[in-house]
Symmetry: C2
């Protein structure tokens, strides 16, 4: 597939339904709403849907959005690598033959749609969408530009992560020509935390433990701690990056209780340590810097197993 063919699809169809992935993030929503606004500006009808509700923190992308009345004729999935990620409320689109086109940047894309455009070198799906819009030669609105910027900024950790490419920087340099208040977007995406989230971070950080001369750090979240915080469980997402934020730490471990004697382990590492190798010895796996596994047993046993594993990686006191 190429941009020419996608442009023809936009021209030849009407009444587009745009699917974004469940537990939506800035890239799937930024790409989805940008495409929706772009198609509407072409005079087409288009809606964005999600299996979950759109999170309030992304409201600046959809606060003036109104769903349109129509029977969907063409279904486009954005930033969705696997039909599972469409989510249960939209389960009808998990069936083969129900999604017409998928535009995505995940190398793991399962090619579940009738047509698939994947650019695994793109930092974000929003970057592909921006390049596609440029290809068409059509003007885009400030709001469309803001959605695209948000997608690229969030998926690259504000240009901080390894997946940031020169193309991502150049696209955002060009998007800054629109009236988008990128600094306010970044503040909302990267700096602002809810009071509940702050309390949760406080709770886990205050009990962080250090091992092997500070090269390994560990935080533990028991179901009891989660209950005691009395906040939405979503506030506990993404804590796994905390242990690695401490200077000198090479392997940061997050132990999260699922049930009695069942713990979900998230491991993050710096350059020298292979998180995937570490987790494989516990039946898990993942990426070289971010992996996970599940260990059964009481908390003390689980911690002892993990520390023994760290020692076997070559760490000592």
């Amino acid at each position: 597939m190429n941009f020419r063919e996608i442009t023809d699809i936009f021209r030849d169809n009407d009444n587009f339904l745009i699917l974004t992935h469940k537990s939506p993030d800035g890239d799937t929503l930024g790409t989805g709403f940008a495409l929706c606004y772009f198609l509407r500006d072409m005079g087409k009808k288009a809606n964005v849907v999600n299996s979950d509700s759109f999170p309030q923190r992304y409201a600046f992308m959809y606060e003036d959005y109104q769903p349109q009345e129509f029977d969907p004729e063409y279904v486009i999935a954005v930033d969705i690598a696997d039909p599972q990620l469409i989510g249960s409320s939209l389960a009808q689109f998990q069936q083969p033959g129900t999604v017409d086109l998928c535009i995505d940047h995940h190398v793991s894309n399962k090619e579940f749609a009738k047509l698939t455009y994947v650019d695994a070198n793109a930092s974000a799906s929003a970057l592909i969408m921006y390049q596609l819009f440029k290809y068409t030669g059509r003007e885009i609105s400030d709001l469309t530009a803001k959605c695209l910027y948000t997608g690229i900024a969030t998926d690259t950790g504000c240009f901080k992560y390894e997946n940031t490419t020169p193309q991502a920087h150049i696209a955002c340099a060009e998007l800054m020509a629109y009236n988008i208040d990128f600094a306010a977007v970044n503040r909302k995406m990267f700096d602002v935390k809810s009071r509940a989230r702050l309390a949760v971070e406080q709770a886990v950080t205050s009990k962080m433990e250090y091992f092997f001369g500070g090269q390994c750090s560990m935080i533990v979240l028991t179901t009891r701690m989660i209950e005691e915080c009395g906040v939405d469980p979503a506030e506990f997402d993404g804590l796994a990056s905390i242990p690695l934020q401490v200077e000198g730490v090479k392997i940061g471990i997050t132990v999260k209780q699922r049930h009695e004697n069942v713990y979900k382990i998230s491991v993050r590492t710096t350059e020298d340590t292979d998180a995937s190798e570490f987790c494989r010895r516990f039946g898990g796996g993942g990426h070289i810097r971010a992996s996970g596994c599940e260990i059964h047993g009481d908390l003390e046993t689980v911690k002892a197993k993990l520390l023994e594993g760290v020692r076997e990686l070559g760490f000592d006191d």
Copy 2:
């Protein structure tokens, strides 16, 4: 002054001494070391000096740097807006006529050097230096590129702040063509904290107070708290951004005790509130989003004055 004249200066002189500002940050060091390596690659002698020691967190820019033996013939200050910022250990260069050239991006530059090149639209001094190097047409080394990237990334908060320009993005897109492991640089600059810093943040965040229905937050640092933490006072720098990180907060106030009954106030605000106006009523001032002042009195009186000031800005419960 233009790039042509600076290029002539590089060609016509030898034995360069490069001054960076006291309490050095990523931009002054990135610009300074980049210039030093560039001049050495031209066959010149060059050293970088600072009134303070070079902080360990920037070691990746200078770990293979060795001072050269020579009598300085040409003195260049980088990222230094005011001779005060040269610092007491290099006080001889605070005298008029001792600095030959200053390259800087601060609009407030006092033009204290014999020659001054200021581009106040540049996001960072390192961005000016990059554009200058490009102008010369000379190759730069990977290490020089890494220093320039660090300067631009740190002064823009990793492309997050309002001062980020399209030119900053484009320069970094180009610098990524060098072998610089920008993700490791960003991790070190933006994600990693010392255990002492983490403890300090814990201490102040756990006692954060909220007023006016959560629109105002305040942290207090007494000299006793600072002593009790038992860490290097430098660990207490830059805490003023913490109160504003909480969702819903529009004015974040940091109260730091200097002496008995003397408090330094730092104020940070979001779009709707003028921090400078707020601080002016206490005899201080600054920028619209970041200002400061000093208030005398006991802690309760100081807090009451501040909250009365917030109420007068139009905040209510």
